[in-house]
């Protein structure tokens, strides 16, 4: 129902025009139509209001944090040992520092002193062990244990075969030692994910409804499908939030969120790609817009195990045959950068010299012929119904037809499509990937390493010994520069092997109310915790 938003904007202009006409005709010149149709004045409230959640969180329990609204709420109430900044940097949070021993696998994390949970109990190293055991415990049924799997014994604990995690030991109240199964230099980044956040020892059965953490916001209320309310944690260890409270409204329909924004009832709005031209061209709304490159790749996973798609030349031909630049401009409002590989421009390992496939139908046809398909091929392109995906899929279909690739479109709901793609039943699956943590590894490893074929994220079923060995080496490499060089190498290999139709990296666009200060559009979804945000009222005019 996204297109209704465009209709809404049109109608709104009509409404405003006719209202202006009416007030003009009836001579009510005093009634200001400007304030009604343009933005609103600074609201008289002390609560920050978010409009981004479009469905109810699963739970507020970090162990169940597998979706965006849940992760976002968890990041308000809880802390991890590390956390993300809005610009997707990883900084210490409950840990003050950490060091890696010479063996390359033993981390010693030093924890902050004097931190208290919202219920007043103090935080100590034992809570870290307890929290992670809880996430991995089969009884929790969370399904989000993998960020902790690098720890020695974690997988066995999750499988229920051992009773404690051997790689986790509490040295003293403020020191915890973590031993990994093998060197994994980016491990501290994973400790900023919502799933690895720290919970207190006592977690009653309704903990997911009444969470207690150490984070900047205390949980106040959760009205399902309506809103979540948080209050400022004045004792927050890293500087209490500036605002009194934070409300996360749950608004399923985009046009409604837009109306709430225009009425001044919410402080930020995530503007979807297809709506961005109308927001950018409107002189009233343009100054409200802020953008940030997000860690989101939009791509078509090409199943490298099916028929003609086994041949890299065919996959390259597909990449050459689609004018991605045109799709980006026309269907996505130009919000993004073309992808040459899987590493986004804002992450280390991105290579500016690796150029995206050009739009070249002649070469595409030649490659198909060379691969032995002079008459083209028949494939199925799967897409979900969300956002612009169906329209992008139709456009890809039209482009591929020009080089003789006959595409049958299969449109399903997200759940059915995910299942089909993971079971290897799709030729090309048009989808996207949001980073869980800001590192090139979070794209290279889950999306294309053979260990993750299927449910792990690699629905291209790509299996390339050279690529695998470079990525595995990068994961183990402790030296930043050497690791980044390996990332680059892996990305170039992916580019040449073309296990996906590389589309684009998305650029996030937000509308932010003029009165909201200190809010930064986050590059990673849990990056902005609203601690610096506040509603700023204009200074009262001096009395005459």
């Amino acid at each position: 129902m996204m297109s209704t938003a465009a209709l809404a904007r049109g109608l709104r202009e009509c409404c405003c025009a006719s209202l202006a006409l009416l007030t003009g005709l009836s001579g009510l010149a005093g009634l200001s139509t400007l304030s009604a149709c343009g933005g609103s004045s600074t609201p008289d409230r002390r609560t920050l209001i978010d409009s981004r959640d479009n469905y109810d969180p699963r739970s507020l329990d970090p162990a169940l944090s597998t979706d965006v609204p849940t992760g976002r709420a968890v990041s308000y109430v809880f802390d991890g040992l590390t956390r993300f900044t809005p610009r997707a940097q990883v900084v210490p949070d409950l840990a003050t520092s950490w060091e890696l021993a010479a063996d390359g696998v033993t981390y010693t994390f030093h924890l902050k002193h004097g931190v208290r949970f919202h219920d007043g109990t103090s935080f100590s190293a034992a809570d870290v062990r307890h929290s992670w055991e809880r996430v991995l415990d089969p009884k929790t049924r969370g399904g989000r244990g993998w960020p902790l799997y690098p720890i020695r014994g974690a997988k066995e604990f999750a499988a229920g075969t051992v009773s404690s995690i051997t790689g986790l030991s509490v040295a003293d109240d403020s020191t915890i030692r973590i031993t990994l199964t093998e060197p994994f230099a980016i491990f501290p980044k994973m400790l900023a994910m919502p799933a690895t956040a720290i919970v207190p020892k006592r977690t009653p059965p309704d903990f997911g409804e009444h969470p207690i953490g150490t984070g900047p916001w205390k949980f106040v209320a959760w009205h399902h499908d309506d809103y979540l309310l948080f209050a400022r944690n004045a004792q927050y260890h890293d500087g209490a939030p500036l605002a009194d409270s934070l409300e996360a409204r749950i608004i399923p329909e985009l046009s409604t969120a837009e109306a709430e924004f225009e009425a001044g009832n919410v402080d930020v709005l995530q503007v979807p790609a297809q709506e961005s031209p109308s927001w950018e061209s409107n002189e009233e709304t343009r100054p409200l817009l802020q953008s940030a490159p997000s860690l989101r790749l939009i791509y078509g996973a090409i199943n490298t195990t099916r028929g003609p798609l086994k041949d890299a030349r065919v996959r390259q031909a597909i990449n050459l045959a689609v004018d991605r630049g045109m799709i980006l401009k026309r269907l996505m409002g130009g919000r993004g950068t073309l992808a040459a590989g899987v590493i986004p421009p804002s992450l280390d390992g991105y290579s500016a010299t690796l150029a995206a496939y050009p739009y070249d139908t002649t070469r595409a046809r030649a490659l198909l012929k060379e691969a032995g398909y002079p008459d083209g091929i028949d494939i199925e392109l799967w897409t979900s119904q969300s956002e612009q995906f169906p329209r992008i899929a139709q456009t890809i279909q039209a482009y591929l037809a020009r080089v003789g690739i006959r595409v049958k479109l299969v449109q399903r709901d997200a759940s059915s499509m995910r299942e089909a793609a993971r079971n290897g039943k799709t030729d090309i699956a048009l989808k996207d990937w949001y980073a869980d943590y800001p590192d090139a590894e979070n794209f290279l490893y889950p999306l294309l390493h053979s260990a993750n074929r299927g449910v792990g994220g690699n629905v291209s079923f790509f299996s390339d010994a050279r690529f695998d060995s470079v990525v595995s080496k990068a994961r183990r490499e402790p030296d930043d520069q050497k690791r980044i060089a390996l990332y680059r190498q892996a990305d170039s290999l992916a580019h040449v092997e073309a296990p996906m139709l590389f589309m684009f990296f998305y650029t996030e666009l937000y509308a932010v109310q003029p009165w909201l200060k200190g809010f930064t559009v986050p590059s990673i979804f849990t990056g902005e915790r609203w601690t610096e945000a506040k509603i700023e009222r204009p200074a009262k005019p001096a009395p005459k």
Binding site: M1, T4, L7, A8, L11, R12, C15, L19, A36, C37, S40, D56, R58, S59, L64, T66, D67, P138, R141, G143, R144, G145, W146, Y149, K155, A158, A159, G160, G208, E209, H223, H224, D225, D226, Y227, R249, I250, I251, P252, E253, S255, T256, A259, E260, E262, A263, N265, R412, S415, S416, R418, E419, W433, Y434, D436, N452, G454, V455, G456, G457
Partner: protein
């Protein structure tokens, strides 16, 4: 009448069992996998296999059904796969909100619709009748989400009279109830009008007029009372529309009702939540149908139960 009610309630049992079987089978064959929804975008096959076993999804269809139906018989609708909360409490938390919205919309629709119908029937083809008929065509033709958006734009964004969306006091209720009721106003006005015209042309009305009764007494006492039967039927049938139509209305107006719960459950393949809410709604339907039949008897003494 008590026997009638008991018999109807007993007859409801096979109906509900049928609903249970059909929903179970539909969900069993439908594509999509609840466990994959539970683990999110990145997972490992060991976790998936473990969850599948714990949720008994690796068992045979009959064994899954027996287990589920057994729970229902004990009054247990089960626990959501996704949120891990009991389905019954989730449903009971949201249903009153849907009922409030549907009830208000229905009240608004019946008062306005019947009033317009009665007035139109007074002077068929008069100016009021023509305008009302034209309005009715428009009302039936507008989809609820379009009406909803228009209402939000006019009353919330432009005039600032009412909040655009959300759940709260009466102010939050007005726009969604108007949006949900609009189609029904039109429908009820037309039904009432034609039923009234039928009645007003009948012999006993002529007698009533000959007795010297005022036109108002004729219309309300003799006319409307007898025209109510088809109106009650429509209201009863429409109740289903209110509950399902509320899915769209709840989405447009961010109303935290049962409709959105079901839609969310479907998109996340939360099987127990879907089955539980469908079963719950079926019980409501059965009860509403029963109430409709009882209302016939109340409105028309010739109907015996």
């Amino acid at each position: 009448m008590t026997i009638y009610i008991i018999r109807r309630l007993l007859l409801a049992i096979p109906t509900l069992f049928g609903v249970l079987v059909v929903t179970f089978l539909l969900l069993y064959v439908a594509p999509g996998d609840p466990v994959q929804e539970m683990v999110g975008e990145r997972a490992d096959s060991a976790t998936i296999a473990r969850l599948r076993k714990e949720l008994r999804l690796d068992e045979s269809m009959s064994s899954q059904f027996t287990h589920y139906a057994g729970g229902i018989l004990r009054g247990d609708l089960g626990t959501s796969y996704i949120t891990r909360r009991p389905i019954l409490s989730d449903v009971l938390e949201r249903f009153p909100k849907t009922l409030l919205l549907a009830g208000t919309a229905m009240l608004f629709a019946s008062i306005t619709g019947i009033l317009i119908g009665v007035l139109s029937a007074q002077h068929p083809d008069g100016w009021f009748d023509r305008i009302a008929l034209g309005g009715a065509y428009l009302g039936i033709s507008f989809p609820v989400y379009w009406v909803g958006l228009l209402l939000i734009l006019l009353f919330a964004v432009t005039l600032h009279w009412l909040p655009p969306s959300g759940y709260g006091g009466i102010r939050h209720l007005i726009l969604p109830a108007l949006a949900l009721g609009t189609r029904s106003v039109a429908f009820l006005a037309r039904i009432t009008r034609s039923a009234m015209l039928d009645v007003l042309n009948s012999d006993f009305v002529r007698t009533a007029r000959a007795k010297g009764l005022s036109e108002r007494a004729v219309a309300l006492k003799h006319g409307l009372r007898n025209a109510l039967i088809p109106v009650i039927t429509v209201l009863g049938l429409d109740f289903g529309y209110y509950l399902t139509g509320s899915i769209l209305t709840e989405t447009i107006f961010s109303w935290p009702g049962l409709g959105r719960y079901v839609v969310n459950a479907i998109s996340r393949r939360d099987l127990p939540a879907i089955q539980g809410s469908v079963l719950f709604l079926s019980v409501i339907f059965v009860l509403v149908n029963l109430l409709t039949d009882l209302a016939y008897a109340k409105a028309d003494k010739r109907v015996s139960l």
